[in-house]
Symmetry: C2
Subunit: 635 residues, 2 copies
């Protein structure tokens, strides 16, 4: 979507109204734009403007306003197919030029296949690199306009608001009550020389004098464990400050299920959890504003990505139906919200963009992650995996996207593992085996006290590699161990009735050391089998096999630490060259930044809800069979 | 406008999108509908539906839903001209019927002249009589729908909101956050058997079980002096309770100018005035709810009509620019507001409809009054006069409407009059003179203590009638008085240096009695001349004279008490048969009720802003000349 409202686009005939005959295209529900002289083909949903289609695909079109329809520099020529003449085209081109196909790209919604000739650049739109190497052209919802207005007189009694809106007549705005309250005094105090503050299609404020340089927004990644806030300078696209802290809801449980359970056991818990989430956000907001010396009133918009449970709790919505079958969300999308609805004291009229969710277990964090990693437009066959207690899996090829959630359980977070622990000081995070020794990398460079998720995956993968763990997941017999790796055989012990492999001795007793038990291996097998079943079923939906996957993106903080080689070896990800297995980082937070920097990306996030097909695993009759097949390690 | 949103109408091609070629019509900016078999012609703005056009003009079309598009009974046939086929038409008619011109009237927006054949009635829409004898077909914004929903399952994981909206698929709704917060618990607690509460295009709540019978709304007339609240049962259109009280802002001054001055003198006054206005509304809301045994949470919408200053103060907007030239409003219209923005604790998501204003001195109360008195559709040449310190004057003939405000000053409220007082106990409200006696009617049937506005007008009119006051406004000499009315001559006295006419003796001293002074007469002359100048200039705008006026509506409480004969005699209103001079009552409050009972009337109120031309008097170079001409009493 452009800055112009949808009704604008309807009016201009630029997008097909819902229910109108489907425009001619190739049957994928998208239209094809052929860009000249680059000879690049691009496919986008019908109605997307030529400007957006180009910038989504990294094709540069002249622009200084970023597609707001104000700079009138994004002149292109339609050489095949046609696009209706827009209201602005009439002002910018002669009749001959219009007949020759000249259009402003930012107003030109493509409803059928077209070829577009793009003149050489004379200016470049401002852009920022966000997400997984995504170039985002800056077109934030936040706009400021410096206005020198004519003072009212008996001959010109326009209301204050009308006077301001008339000076912004390229925008179609409504006013917030806050702006109306400020207008009479600010206009007169500043002698009608003011800066209008616009967010999307709302006039949120007028400020005395010229404040156009100060335009801040705040992106939140509301994780179950960790919450990250990034204060963005939307004029440059760069972070002004970043802060993170543990979610203050932690005392109610480590994962979403325990927090949902808390609300079921204690009627007061929901309100308490909401207050804690709000306090977490407020604390971070105050921190980043202080660090960047930004007045909270200069933060005009907020974006937040969180899973469905975190989002529900933040908004004061009962999460119980998310936690029990059939796993129902109150809503996939959210109404217009304000930062104040999230408990934030920023600009009083600052809106809050909260990411929508695809399902109870494929939440707004994953939608944000898909956006940041370009799952909707990268043409490669890519698999996105966010490993956690609940593991979200997405498969896309630029045309189709399918998503699912797999119940991996707590193994990757150290839960249900004898010596398991979170990724904190003392956790073994990397394990390498040689014939006679165990190499360990420990967080904080201290003596090992336990095993975190990446260490667990490494330990199992390495034992499989050297043959101390067979493909079915059974630790070999002491006799076999002696034969296979004599230098490691004395690490095969028993703790109680259970066989274990000692990773790091503490004293002489295996029970007091850091070890991996046979049951731990089983836990990991269950977890990885759930995930592998998930992506296997998604691959089947596409009719492809794991060898067809061109890239695996490991999302989330756990994804950053996981060894690609170990992930392949235990079958957590498809069997690919490890160069094709990429850590995507904190893509949820990046997605939140993107929607603040670009209205196009915001529209892209909304479009994901329509484009992604959610596949529910829990009612698949074939799930259990596949799951059992996936328990073994790949040969 | 129909219940369907504007985008609906765009989509259906039912209304001309803004900027589209103007449809053919007769040049008045309206289209003509010819109704058969009645042979009635009706003219409405393009895009208005056939159903609305009919009901605005008292032509009955079959309907039980009131035009919501749900009952599908409003079948009409277009016999000349054409109206596009709507989405609902396709479901209701055969192809042959569509070709024959059959349409649902509530979905049929007329964009060019058409003839419409209306079948005989089998049912009648519910209607209520409101305003100046207006029949309003009930189509409130508040709707309730009882729903028995299918429970979710793994095969049907629709989010709660989607489940509800799918059951309301004839409406195009968005949800309020409040409704989202309630959904998960209410749906499950009530076993998915709920009542959806919709206001306009927003789902504001879900309630357990069937609560469809309980639908209340609250209308406020926020006067500078008196505030009236009417609790409406929107299912019947009848008031459930009415209450009134003095505006608690009274201590800050009797009129808008003194209250504006208060905010200029004391920075804290504005907030204080806001709090007092809110307290006034809250007190009345509690009173009517208690009286009618309605839970405040069952009041789902509020409408409020007030003058520009009262409205600004209520919303916390600085009124100063309203009070000083060039008299500028912060805005003519208001953004979406909630009852909570007015300080009201009703349903948490209840919206508030606040009447827009035409100018700083033709406020929302007058827009409401115009609506209630049908100034926009009555074909007679009518003059609407709301007499007060600021007197609003409107002239209309069903096609054109012009409005202005005349600064009458406080005379009509007893201000600046020696023995003047408000219309309270002891005030002389009616004066009749015979040759030798003075007949008085006193409020409260007590001894007279002063003279209120209607008594003042009567006294002057009667003195003019019997010849004791000449046409220039001078009391005749004592000698002439003796000759003209010997029985009244002893009432001609002096108080100080000023000549007076004693209306009611208290003791023997004129100074202690209730009298009318020469200066009082001058004050009234100034006041009536300002008003008469106002309507004279409006008549000139129409190119007509006072004899052409077919009806004068005297609005407001003062209008109810004013003697039409006296008003004619002093030249306050055009010289007409007194049968043509009608008291319109509290039309502001009636207008507020109408917008709660009918979405069509609400659209009509919004249309008034476009249709009425505001004429500013204070910069008219001819104002003073006319004013002087108008000082004398008509011969």
């Amino acid at each position: 979507m452009t800055r112009a409202s949808r009704s604008d686009l309807h009016r201009e005939g630029l997008i097909a109204p819902p229910g109108a005959p489907t425009p001619s295209h190739d049957g994928t529900g998208r239209v094809r734009l052929h860009f000249l002289p680059l000879e690049r083909d691009v496919r986008v949903p019908p109605g997307v403007t030529v400007f957006d289609a180009a910038s989504w695909n990294g094709i540069a079109i002249d622009s200084t306003c970023g597609g707001h329809g104000t700079c009138k520099k994004c002149r292109v020529r339609i050489t095949a197919g046609s696009i209706p003449v827009s209201r602005l085209d009439v002002r910018c081109f002669t009749t001959e030029e219009l007949q020759d196909g000249w259009r402003l790209a930012c107003m030109a919604g493509a409803v059928s296949d077209v070829s577009v000739d793009v003149p050489p650049l004379s200016t470049r739109p401002k852009a920022a690199t966000v997400g997984v190497g995504r170039q985002v052209i800056l077109r934030p919802a936040i706009q400021k306009r410096y206005l020198e207005l004519v003072e009212p007189s008996l001959q010109d009694q326009r209301p204050d608001l009308q006077r301001v809106l008339d000076a912004l007549d390229d925008l179609e705005l409504r006013a917030d009550l806050h702006a109306l309250r400020r207008l009479p005094r600010v206009l007169r105090w500043a002698n009608f020389t003011v800066t209008a503050v616009v967010v999307d299609d709302v006039l949120v404020d007028v400020e005395p004098g010229d404040t156009t340089a100060r335009r801040f927004a705040l992106a939140f990644d509301l994780g179950t464990t960790t919450v990250v806030a990034t204060l963005l300078d939307t004029s440059t696209g760069t972070p002004a400050a970043v802060a993170s802290m543990l979610n203050l809801q932690q005392p109610f449980g480590a994962d979403v299920i325990t927090r949902i359970s808390a609300t079921m056991l204690d009627p007061a818990a929901m309100e308490h959890l909401r207050a804690l989430a709000q306090e977490t956000l407020s604390t971070l907001a105050a921190e980043v504003c202080a660090e960047a010396e930004v007045d909270p009133g200069e933060v005009y918009e907020v974006a937040l990505a969180g899973n469905a449970t975190m989002t529900a709790l933040l908004l004061g919505i009962d999460p119980e139906p998310l936690g029990v079958a059939p796993f129902i969300m109150s809503s996939a999308t959210w109404p217009s919200l304000r930062a104040a609805d999230l408990g934030l004291s920023l600009h009083p009229a600052a809106p809050a963009v909260v990411f929508p969710a695809l399902g109870a277990y494929v939440g707004g964090d994953i939608v944000a992650g898909m956006l940041a990693s370009g799952m909707d437009r990268d043409k490669r066959l890519r698999l996105f995996i966010d490993v956690g207690t609940n593991c979200e899996i997405v498969l896309g090829d630029g045309d189709r996207i399918v998503a699912t959630a797999a119940p991996a359980g707590p193994a990757f977070e150290g839960g249900a593992i004898r010596c398991g622990m979170r990724a904190a000081d003392g956790a073994i995070e990397v394990v390498t085996l040689s014939e006679d020794d165990v190499g360990l990398q420990v967080i904080g460079d201290v003596a090992p006290v336990g095993l975190c998720g990446s260490g667990l995956v490494d330990a199992v993968a390495e034992l499989v590699r050297v043959g101390l763990l067979d493909y079915s997941g059974r630790l070999v017999s002491p006799e076999d161990a002696k034969e296979i790796a004599p230098g490691l055989a004395d690490r095969f012990c028993s703790v109680g009735a259970e066989r274990v492999f000692v990773l790091s001795w503490r004293g002489v007793e295996a029970a007091e050391s850091v070890y991996l038990s046979q049951r731990d291996v089983r836990e990991l097998q269950f977890a990885k089998a759930a995930i592998a079943t998930g992506w296997t079923l998604l691959l089947e939906e596409f009719g492809i096999t794991q060898g067809d996957v061109q890239q695996v993106l490991l999302a989330g903080s756990f994804g950053s630490y996981l060894s690609p080689a170990s992930a392949v070896r235990i079958g957590l990800v498809p069997k690919l060259s490890i160069l094709r297995i990429v850590s995507a980082g904190n893509v949820a937070g990046e997605g939140a930044k993107m929607v603040l920097l670009s209205m196009q990306e915001r529209a892209g996030a909304a479009a994901l809800l329509r484009e992604v097909r959610y596949v529910e695993l829990s009612d698949r009759t074939d799930f259990n069979d596949r799951f059992v097949d996936m328990l073994a390690f790949p040969g």
